[in-house]
């Protein structure tokens, strides 16, 4: 029996890999390298350097993200906000992937609500979301105490966006997943892509390419 969609159709875009080429760890490293005190820069960079092997070793990228962003512990909210805007302006906005931007524009023309999902923190993603005119941005949020970062990411972290968190988000915003589409580039995006009607792998990594072939999902190459 055919049922009519109950909400609006949405297009979910995982920013990393689809719209921007730089991984989130690189942003954490860039911010760490621009700490106020020269002496703190090396120590902070060391913490970020641990993140990638930890992700690979544990097979859980969320651990890597938590470790990478913990390098910002003690940094002021002012610094993270100002440098976050600078990172977006100098490292992301003029290097957006054209194929991803085309898909986003096409989805907008099709009447989709645009949802941007990113492992970056909101201080960096907000300008990207504004430039791409995203309707919603789902990203990581640093915890602050007395205007200083504690080094912790607030739950839920965006890396795990999919399944239950995705359904809750769709309910909250009146989106119909059975009429929606999603674009991802990494194997970790599988849960997100599997939750919508029209999944699409964009320049996928080896893991997602295999899954896309198995499940007969379309693959877009740059």
């Amino acid at each position: 029996m055919h049922t009519e969609p109950t909400g609006r159709q949405a297009a979910f875009f995982r920013a990393e890999g689809v719209l921007v080429s730089r991984p989130a760890h690189l942003a954490a490293a860039w911010l760490a390298a621009n700490a106020q005190h020269l002496g703190q820069r090396a120590a902070r960079l060391g913490a970020v350097a641990l993140a990638a092997p930890l992700s690979l070793g544990l097979g859980d990228s969320s651990v890597g993200h938590r470790v990478a962003w913990s390098a910002l512990r003690g940094m002021s909210a002012d610094r993270i906000a100002v440098l976050g805007e600078e990172y977006a302006a100098t490292q992301l906005l003029d290097r957006l992937r054209p194929a991803g931007v085309d898909l986003l524009e096409r989805s907008r023309r099709d009447g989709c609500t645009i949802v941007l999902i990113s492992d970056l923190i909101d201080e960096i993603v907000a300008p990207v979301g504004a430039m791409l005119r995203a309707d919603h941005v789902v990203c990581n949020h640093l915890e602050y105490r007395n205007r200083r970062a504690t080094g912790r990411l607030m739950d839920p972290i965006a890396t795990r966006f999919g399944g239950g968190t995705l359904r809750a988000f769709a309910d909250d915003h009146g989106l119909d997943l059975s009429a929606s589409r999603a674009y991802g580039a990494f194997a970790s995006d599988q849960v997100l892509l599997a939750s919508v009607r029209l999944p699409c792998a964009v320049s996928p990594d080896r893991g997602l390419r295999r899954i896309a072939l198995d499940l007969d999902w379309p693959v877009v190459e740059r």
Binding site: Q36, D78, R79, A81, V82, E86, T90, R147
Partner: protein, 520 residues
């Protein structure tokens, strides 16, 4: 009634028009209250060629503050302003403010006198500071009393001096110095004048400054500026029959909105500090958690406009403080860090390659004055002369082999010259930090502003409340670029932009202004 309605058709007398604050206030009133009756500007003439009217015309023609009015009124500007502004030659330090009977006649319809003029240098010749800040205030008070109009006297929040307490209320206890000592203000003024005319002080400005600083310190004021402004407050508060309102802004800085974001004029407090930490000196001796009480000039102008209107209606009187520390505090650690971030952003947009590559990467940091680190200015100031002496021709032969000395001679000569220049810079910076120390290190003041905020809380334009000010946005996007454009070039001995002269030249006339006030 709101301020614009109260000021409609009124006659304001304003001093200090050539300064930063009064210009913004006059422009704001002209724009927001086009039906103002008249604003009389008491301005000191500069010789025969530059009478008050010419000085005012020059400001109206060239100052960016009046850009919006120039654009709005175009070729009718002279006529429009002529109907509202009335510049008069005056010398506030002379009896009767140096006004002739005809000029006095032009003040007969005044509704309020706003005294903004003053000397804001921290350590000027005390005789000049006494004249500009105390004698002039007394003469203006005499004028206000003679005309039977309220006087709004602009002072500074730092007349609070260096008391033991942190919280500074909007009050004044006449005859009690910040040190808590009772004193006779008249006797204090006479004693300072006398002391400045005897001994070394008679001939040496340096000796007079030393004397003035010592006297200020004895009574609990941090410098000659706050000392003389404080004396003026005490003197005016004791005047019988004077309808007095004292307004105390804290550190007046770049406009956040009016006339445009970033507008600043002259050397204000934050400019030299921003310049200092934008150079190679990155360690500012300050206490991170102490409050840096800054207020944008347009917020001060808004508050001042409302207080003038209230004074006309008899709702003012007493002391009003226009400050930020009690309701939206900004601390030195944030100020230092945001200055570094502002410089970084500015360098990315318009800095030199050196600034982009090196200076923008070296962030300034606050350091305690008692633990300033190896690169502290006073430590460098001690080492530079030693190194310079060691490089002098008669001394270097003691440690440098003759062959090497001959080989390195041109470089050594150059290094000696550069060290001499570095020594001058270090001395200048050390002296500057010494003057700033009470404000950036020694004291943490919280200036209360409840009266000012309550008075203006239902105003639209003329409202004083900084609760909505985002210090990060203001400092990085407004204050720092403003200082780079309007203030730091002056410190570096360069000019600042001004607007092109008007063609035809702006000329102020008066007949319409007379008519507007007469019909009030």
């Amino acid at each position: 009634m709101h301020t614009p309605q109260i000021l409609e058709g009124r006659h304001l007398v304003v001093t200090g028009f050539t300064g930063f604050l009064a210009k913004v206030l006059v422009a704001m009133i002209l724009e927001e209250v086009p039906g103002i009756g008249r604003i009389t500007l008491l301005v000191r003439p500069r010789g025969r060629l530059r009478p008050a009217v010419r000085r005012v015309e020059e400001a109206l023609e060239r100052s960016p503050v009046f850009r919006r009015l120039r654009q709005r009124h175009g070729e009718h500007l002279s006529e429009w302003l002529g109907a509202r502004l009335d510049p008069i030659d005056a010398d506030l330090e002379q009896p009767g403010c140096g006004l002739d009977p005809a000029a006095l006649q032009r003040l007969a319809s005044a509704d309020v006198i706003l005294h903004c003029a003053g000397l804001t240098d921290f350590a000027p010749d005390p005789l000049k500071a006494l004249s500009a800040n105390v004698i002039a205030a007394a003469q203006i008070a005499e004028l206000a009393r003679g005309q039977q109009v309220p006087l709004v006297h602009v002072s500074t929040a730092y007349v609070a001096g260096c008391p033991d307490r942190v919280e500074i209320p909007e009050t004044l206890e006449p005859g009690v110095a910040p040190s808590g000592e009772p004193f006779d203000v008249g006797a204090e003024i006479r004693a300072l004048q006398l002391a400045c005319r005897h001994g070394d002080a008679r001939t040496s400005a340096g000796a007079r400054i030393e004397l003035g600083m010592a006297r200020a310190d004895a009574l609990g004021w941090p410098n000659i500026y706050t000392y003389t402004k404080g004396l003026a407050e005490h003197l005016l508060a004791q005047q019988e029959g004077l309808d007095l309102t004292v307004v105390r802004p804290s550190i007046v800085e770049c406009a956040r909105r009016y006339p445009f974001p970033g507008w600043n004029e002259g050397l204000n407090t934050a400019g030299p500090l921003a310049w200092l930490i934008s150079t190679a000196f990155r360690r500012l001796p300050t206490v991170p958690e102490h409050r840096f009480d800054v207020v944008p000039v347009d917020d001060v102008a808004q508050g001042l406009g409302a207080i003038c209107a209230a004074a006309i209606e008899g709702r003012a009187g007493g002391v009003f403080q226009l400050a930020s520390s009690d309701h939206n505090p900004f601390t030195f650690d944030r100020a230092v860090e945001l200055t570094g971030l502002g410089m970084r952003r500015w360098a990315r947009a318009s800095g030199t390659p050196l600034e982009r590559a090196v200076l923008a990467q070296l962030d300034p940091v606050p350091v305690p004055a008692d633990r300033p680190g190896p690169l502290a200015i006073d430590r460098l100031a001690r080492w530079v002369p030693r190194v310079r002496r060691a490089l002098e021709p008669d001394r270097r032969s003691a440690w440098l082999p003759p062959a090497l000395e001959r080989l390195l001679q041109p470089a050594l000569e150059r290094a000696t010259e550069e060290l001499a220049s570095a020594q001058q810079s270090l001395d200048r910076v050390s002296a500057m930090l010494e003057l700033y120390r009470p404000f950036i290190h020694d004291h943490d003041w919280v200036f209360h502003t409840e009266r000012a905020r309550a008075l203006t809380h239902d105003e639209d334009t003329f409202r004083f409340d900084l609760s909505d000010l985002c210090w990060r946005r203001y400092w990085v996007d407004v204050e720092y670029p403003g200082l780079r454009t309007w203030c730091i070039p002056l410190i570096e001995g360069r000019g600042v932009p001004s607007d092109p002269a008007q063609t035809p030249r702006l000329r102020l006339g008066r007949p319409e202004a007379e008519a507007r006030v007469a019909s009030k």
